[in-house]
Symmetry: C2
Subunit: 311 residues, 2 copies
């Protein structure tokens, strides 16, 4: 427990990871409003949109336009998968690029129609484009805790990719639990493996709550001293395999947990919950976030509000 | 981490805590089937029903009848709040009585219309009835981690009740997080406080997932060596204050977490998930359990099953 950080940097991914999965296109001005509300609530970093092909991800085709409208006090990151995306992102003026690759061959092929090595080779050009524009690159590794097609992913495969990222000059790596296969012992093991091999490389963790233990994995990460977590407002975003199963861990619930553990985030939780409720209105379906519904534990009730509860 | 137990005893409370909150009466034979399916899945203990006044809790008015039909390999516990309930429970033939009191005055009054001391005084008779029938009594303390009307509950108040329980010869205490106000530091603190004052008293933890961190609280309990947890199949049961907020932590998700942490439960998780899905059909509304929807992490998918996922 002594490893636990005193402060955690939360990166919001909902307006990218969540909105791309929504059936309807969220209007550009609504995206801008939500992002600005998140900035106003104190969220320091946002993977705010992507620069994937607009044909592949039409819901985020307005990423350059969105960037024109948002409050740049917080770091605005754009997700990309190749050099073409890097160029679009840099041209749009992102603060950082997030380049994503899947650790498993079958998932990477499914996602971007390339082998892992083909993706990594393509990142050379991404690194050049980014360096040329002085834009830092964050390397995200999807299916880092397991692949829904192949099962376990060896730590060595993550190490192989991380080593390439380090050589490419990426300034940090993110471990994505794309389909919610992480468990506390896996988190502990992979964090220790990476710390041993790449002691200087900052590691961020991105968990999904597909199997209900997303925040347990955060606890395991905190115990390893990890101080960077990614999450999604309201728990936006789904699991691509299990209808009704949740996707990303929820930002408000994460921040509630961190604050209750006396870990600072710089985020105003009440304002964050307001944003979550607004996002629920916008997407017009129930989101999995709990704290936005129940309030924090500080929210007391009048006696006559209660049904009887014996548990 | 070295305190973590190698084995955990899971107590299922869904057919009591969950069914009492359902708007419609679950038929007796359906209750029996669900309980027997849980026993067949290896659940060792069930707070299977209550012996509260049938007028107050009509959904559980058939508790004596249910007991006639169930497989007695597992321990069948009946919830009570006073001597009248104790007598009904003993007459019905329960294996154990669970007597409940709220740690906070206002919640206890709301729940059973008595002060804490009036409830405790009444437990003298409960203890006599139980001793006479050689039925062990488990003492449950509701709102142990906070009261929705009063806020924080001092550890000393829990200590006061636990001391009375010890004198009454109760064989263990349960700490109920009735409205989901527990946090990892509170769990750590209260477990240590009780271990210092009552080193011989077994402690069980009963968390709600109202604010999304129920299983984080389990992790905190495990780190304190707690090896008894209560949960509800499918996450049955609601929060009395927040519409849409979940109630009890979910048994399948708890068992999934424990198994992934290499902690034995003696429960067959696949069978447990089948029961959860059946219960969802019975209550005819969505339950919060995640593992029953997504499957365990061992469940792999065919490549053509997937939508694209970039996270």
């Amino acid at each position: 427990m002594s490893n636990r950080p005193a402060r955690v940097q939360v990166t919001e991914v909902g307006t990218r990871d969540g909105f791309q999965a929504e059936p309807k296109f969220i209007p550009t001005e609504t995206k801008v409003r939500i992002i600005n509300d998140l900035v106003a609530a104190g969220v320091p970093r946002l993977e705010y949109s992507s620069f994937m092909s607009p044909r592949a991800v039409p819901q985020l085709a307005d990423s350059a336009e969105v960037l024109q409208g948002v409050d740049r006090r917080s770091t605005m990151m754009g997700l990309i998968a190749n050099a073409k995306g890097a160029r679009r992102g840099v041209d749009a003026g992102v603060d950082e690029l997030v380049v994503v690759i899947s650790a498993s061959e079958s998932h990477n092929r499914k996602n971007v129609n390339r082998s892992v090595d083909e993706s990594l080779d393509g990142f050379e050009e991404v690194a050049l484009i980014a360096a040329d524009a002085s834009v830092p690159v964050h390397g995200a590794i999807a299916t880092a805790f397991g692949c829904p097609f192949e099962g376990d992913v060896p730590f060595e495969q993550i190490g192989y990719i991380a080593e390439r990222f380090e050589k490419l000059g990426f300034h940090g790596i993110g471990l994505g639990d794309t389909t919610g296969m992480a468990t506390p012992p896996l988190v502990t093991g992979l964090c220790r493996y990476l710390r041993d091999r790449f002691p200087e490389m900052p590691v961020a963790l991105h968990f999904h709550n597909t199997r209900g233990i997303g925040l347990c994995n955060v606890m395991a990460g905190l115990d390893e001293g990890i101080d960077k977590f990614e999450s999604s407002i309201g728990g936006l975003g789904g699991c691509p395999f299990a209808p009704g199963a949740t996707g990303n861990i929820c930002t408000e619930d994460l921040v509630y947990l961190l604050h209750e553990m006396d870990i600072e985030t710089g985020i105003d939780l009440d304002r964050l919950c307001e944003v979550a409720r607004y996002v629920e209105d916008v997407v017009d379906h129930r989101l999995p976030g709990q704290v936005m519904k129940a309030g924090t534990r500080a929210r007391l009730h009048a006696l006559d509000e209660a049904r009887t509860a014996t548990g």
